[in-house]
């Protein structure tokens, strides 16, 4: 692919999808700065793999998959760093509790405190409105894993929001 052609179609794609993907990144990371970092890193990777992105049936779905996996990898790395910091007796702030963090709005306060994978599943299921199968494809896991992650996330949210388990809440 010619460099000009690659750059032209890439820039067109970024301009068109930046806002939508930024919102998804924000809901997952919970911080504007983290969302921007994550999205920029994702787009840089997408440029390098632009031929494959364009050949995908849905380039946006492909980039969203890169975004979500980038988010999970970053969180895993941060957890290791936090563990290391804890071992060194250096206090490490939780990314979801830092100053200047989320605009706390209703239930979102509780979503932000879910583990990263559950947060990703909740955002894809209930913000992106993807089916369990589609979420499984994005995350590269079995639909059963999505189902159990969703179930666990909703159970936690119900418990936090209502302070009591919801007997009706069966997803099975």
């Amino acid at each position: 692919m010619a460099a000009d052609e690659r750059t032209g179609s890439f820039e067109e794609f970024v301009s068109a999808r930046w806002t939508v993907l930024y919102r998804t990144a924000y809901l997952m990371t919970g911080r504007a700065a983290d969302a921007e970092d994550l999205l920029q890193a994702t787009f840089v990777k997408a440029y390098a793999a632009w031929g494959r992105v364009q050949r995908a049936d849905s380039p946006e779905a492909y980039v969203r998959k890169m975004l979500v996996n980038g988010f999970i990898s970053t969180q895993r790395r941060r957890r290791r760093e936090r563990d290391h910091a804890a071992a060194q007796r250096v206090p490490a702030p939780s990314p979801t509790h830092e100053a200047g963090g989320l605009d706390r709005v209703g239930m979102w306060e509780h979503v932000a405190n879910l583990p990263p994978r559950q947060r990703a599943v909740v955002v894809l299921r209930f913000y992106e409105d993807l089916s369990e199968q589609q979420v499984a494809h994005v995350l590269g896991c079995a639909p059963g894993t999505v189902k159990s992650q969703t179930h666990d996330a909703l159970r936690s949210l119900r418990a936090r929001v209502t302070d009591q388990p919801d007997a009706e809440g069966s997803l099975r």
């Binding site: 890439f10 820039e11 050949r55 209703g106 994978r117 199968q133 179930h151 909703l154 919801d166």
Partner: protein, 396 residues
């Protein structure tokens, strides 16, 4: 979607719509992307140069070194001809597995009008049921040609029934307050033939902690609580704790005709190698081999092929754009299905040689694709609109 989930969705929408979106740094992203691409290419060139140097050194060192560097491992097939869209595929016959659409169950050439749209199959046996328990009553029927024969209708049945690989047995769980009963129903005699009550305290309000995993072709039923795995032989009433699984998790991810598949070493919470084997009558697990993933994959009915999402070279693809691969377990060869990059889906085998992929490509766009396991040739079996109008077997 219930009220709680609706509120959650609305809250997420509200939060997302109120966030200030910074402008897209389009030009700097392109520049950074070009730098990354250049660095990637330089690394690739360096690797090629290093490989050439090794070969030259090996030739210089004579045959002894060459013998030591003989490649081992599976012979992978390289990338096949790339298609750009599923629309490029030719149209083929409708799926040979049962499916439900718009109030009708399609079985071969016949259709049966029924509202029961959840489908479980195995070894030629088909059960249909309700996707959600109506009035707290779980109901399942056996498909007998064009009739639906009642199997079970109880309030305490949880989850989907399991069908044995040969289709002779159907299993389900009945949940009591402090115990769970595993029930075995014979599809030939059409009655319950065995029951096993396990005294496991329900973990919480969300259901029992007992998990029914399935049954192999030796009629060995596997269940457990996540800490221990039990093998129960309904014919003799013997239940044994499965040993020999070492550090593998005690909850298998699948039960195939020959036995359980466990999740192997994991660097990630989602996917890892699948370790498969069989359990002998004394309850000992004997490892037979590994497959590239423990989930998102399926064995062919004759247990000779493993279909999984992989990259162009046959490795299991988690973060890379996956395409559908088939591993021939006996030869170790992988075959890439001729589909556009990034296209995978829920797999089920239509026969020992053909697999069906349920592929979602976007809202109101999903397809059933049939591929030949050996040649990788694919065709469209169904082109579909709204996901909720269709049901296929063994969907979770």
């Amino acid at each position: 979607m219930n009220h709680f989930e609706q509120s959650l969705a609305e809250d997420l929408q509200r939060t997302a719509s109120t966030v200030d979106v910074p402008p897209a740094p389009v030009a700097s992203l392109s520049a950074a992307g070009r730098r990354r691409l250049r660095a990637t290419r330089l690394r690739a060139l360096a690797a090629v140069a290093a490989a050439v140097a090794v070969v030259v050194a090996g030739l210089g060192a004579g045959p002894q070194l060459l013998t030591g560097s003989t490649p081992v491992g599976p012979a992978h097939h390289g990338p096949a001809r790339q298609l750009t869209s599923l629309a490029d595929l030719p149209h083929g016959a409708r799926p040979g597995v049962p499916y439900w659409h718009a109030g009708q169950l399609h079985v071969g050439g016949a259709t049966i009008r029924t509202p029961h749209r959840e489908i479980v199959t195995g070894g030629g046996t088909t059960l249909v049921g309700d996707p959600w328990p109506l009035h707290n009553l779980a109901r399942w029927w056996l498909l007998d040609e064009t009739r639906l024969v009642p199997v079970v209708s109880r309030p305490d049945v949880t989850g989907q029934p399991k069908v044995s690989p040969d289709g002779r047995l159907v299993l389900w769980e009945e949940m009591q307050p402090h115990a769970t009963t595993v029930v075995v129903w014979d599809t030939t005699r059409r009655r319950v033939v065995a029951r096993q009550t396990v005294q496991i305290e329900a973990a919480c309000c969300d259901g029992p902690s007992l998990m029914l995993f399935g049954v192999d072709d030796q009629d060995q039923v596997f269940y457990g609580d996540g800490r221990t795995l039990t093998m129960w032989q309904p014919a003799t009433g013997t239940a044994r704790t499965v040993t020999g699984i070492g550090r593998l998790p005690a909850a298998p991810t699948q039960i195939t005709a020959t036995g359980p598949v466990f999740q192997g070493a994991s660097s990630d919470g989602f996917n890892s190698l699948g370790v498969y084997g069989s359990v002998t009558a004394d309850g000992v697990f004997h490892r037979a081999g590994t497959v590239p993933s423990d989930q998102s994959a399926a064995w062919s009915p004759d247990n000779t092929r493993w279909a999984y999402p992989g990259d162009d070279y046959g490795d299991f693809a988690f973060k890379a754009p996956a395409t559908q691969m088939v591993l021939d377990v006996a030869t170790g060869k992988t075959h890439r299905m001729r589909l556009p990059t990034g296209v995978t889906g829920d797999v089920q085998w239509e026969s020992n040689n053909t697999l069906l992929l349920h592929v979602l490509t976007g809202p109101r766009r999903h397809f059933m694709v049939r591929c030949q396991a050996e040649s990788g040739a694919c065709e469209l079996a169904l082109r579909m609109g709204r996901t909720s109008d269709w049901s296929f077997p063994n969907q979770l």
